[in-house]
């Protein structure tokens, strides 16, 4: 068999495997618990998620999440329960549609302002073109060069 055909088949098989692996599928209970607890902040830790913390509070929160998942609550309902108790602070990534969401907006606004500034500068009129020296100026310059050469010479 032609070598190129073999390579093509291998690439097709690889692509099919990747598509199969990345196909949308229903998350398992454990995956959902991991997903939710990764987003929740541990209230007694320094910047740790509930999933990553070994504190008792984080453990109690994980138990609560697991219980709610088993009860058939959606991720949004479970997150809403924690938001009701702790506010948006409880999420490691603040929701975009909130005051905390400004943290996402400010860099975008700063970038846009920078682009406007740069575009404005680029569009501004160029520096004035150099003016051709007059015949008198050229003559004066030639005379000066000749004088300096004579002095050196």
């Amino acid at each position: 068999m032609n070598g190129r055909v073999l390579v093509a088949i291998a690439l097709l098989v690889l692509a099919a495997a990747l598509v199969f692996a990345a196909r949308p599928h229903e998350a398992t209970t454990d995956e959902r618990i991991d997903q939710i607890t990764t987003e929740l902040r541990c209230p007694v830790c320094q910047g740790l998620s509930v999933k990553d913390s070994s504190s008792k509070t984080a453990r109690q929160m994980r138990d609560l999440v697991a219980q709610r998942v088993r009860e058939g609550k959606t991720n949004a309902q479970i997150e809403a329960e924690f938001r009701a108790a702790y506010g948006d602070w409880i999420f490691l990534s603040p929701p975009v549609a909130s005051w905390s969401g400004l943290i996402w907006l400010v860099p975008v606004v700063a970038l846009a302002a920078g682009l406007v500034l740069v575009t404005g500068r680029l569009r501004s009129p160029d520096a004035p073109a150099p003016v051709e020296p007059s015949a008198t100026q050229v003559a004066a310059l030639r005379e000066r060069v000749a004088r300096e050469e004579a002095a050196e010479g």
């Binding site: 209230p43 609560l64 500034l117």
Partner: protein, 179 residues
């Protein structure tokens, strides 16, 4: 023109920052108004620490309820306890109910603490921490003030003093009497 607009934008942004910081620094760091404040107090039924039955928040409806999360391993809880004792004595025959919720410890240790520290008000055990989570507790001590109509009117994080307790209670009693 563009440079002028940008200059104004920078000044406005700086002014905004200064105003935000000024407002933030004026706030009492113990008075955290997130989550449950101004919302109905999450309902709960917990067992008494001494095992002599259950206490339900619903049974305390129509009263001013002071819910204090505490633990024997929490030093600020020991620090605030004398103020709680004085305030309990002051209101024990009134429409004010104090309720201690033991936080993240064994009942044995919690009960020993209560007996040692002269805690005469009702204390309950939050064994699985669910009540603390529903109130958005960060850690003990935390005190919640629940109005006669079951709304969390205030929350104090950290050790509380007598004046803060009395002020918050009287404010709620005033609301109750002006109904």
């Amino acid at each position: 023109m563009l440079a002028r607009v940008l200059r104004i934008a920078v000044v406005v942004a700086l002014l905004g920052l200064v105003v935000t910081l000024a407002l933030a620094f004026r706030r009492d760091p113990h008075d955290i108004r997130t989550g449950t404040v101004n919302k109905p107090a999450p309902a709960f039924t917990l067992e008494r620490l001494d095992g002599s039955g259950q206490v339900s928040l619903a049974d305390l409806s129509g009263k001013v309820v002071v819910v204090n999360f505490f633990a024997s391993w929490c030093l600020p809880c020991i620090q605030e306890n004398p103020a709680l004792v004085r305030v309990y004595e002051r209101y024990r025959t009134s429409d004010v109910v104090m309720l201690g919720v033991n936080y993240q410890e064994s009942r044995e240790n919690g009960l020993a603490y209560v007996q040692r520290m002269g805690v005469a008000w009702t204390t309950v055990a939050d064994d699985d921490g669910r009540v603390a989570l529903s109130y958005g507790v960060f850690g003990p001590p935390e005190t919640f003030f629940i109005s006669y109509d079951g709304i969390i009117a205030g929350r104090h994080i950290g050790p509380i003093d007598e004046e803060t307790l009395v002020t918050a209670i009287e404010k709620l009693r005033g609301q109750a009497s002006s109904r």
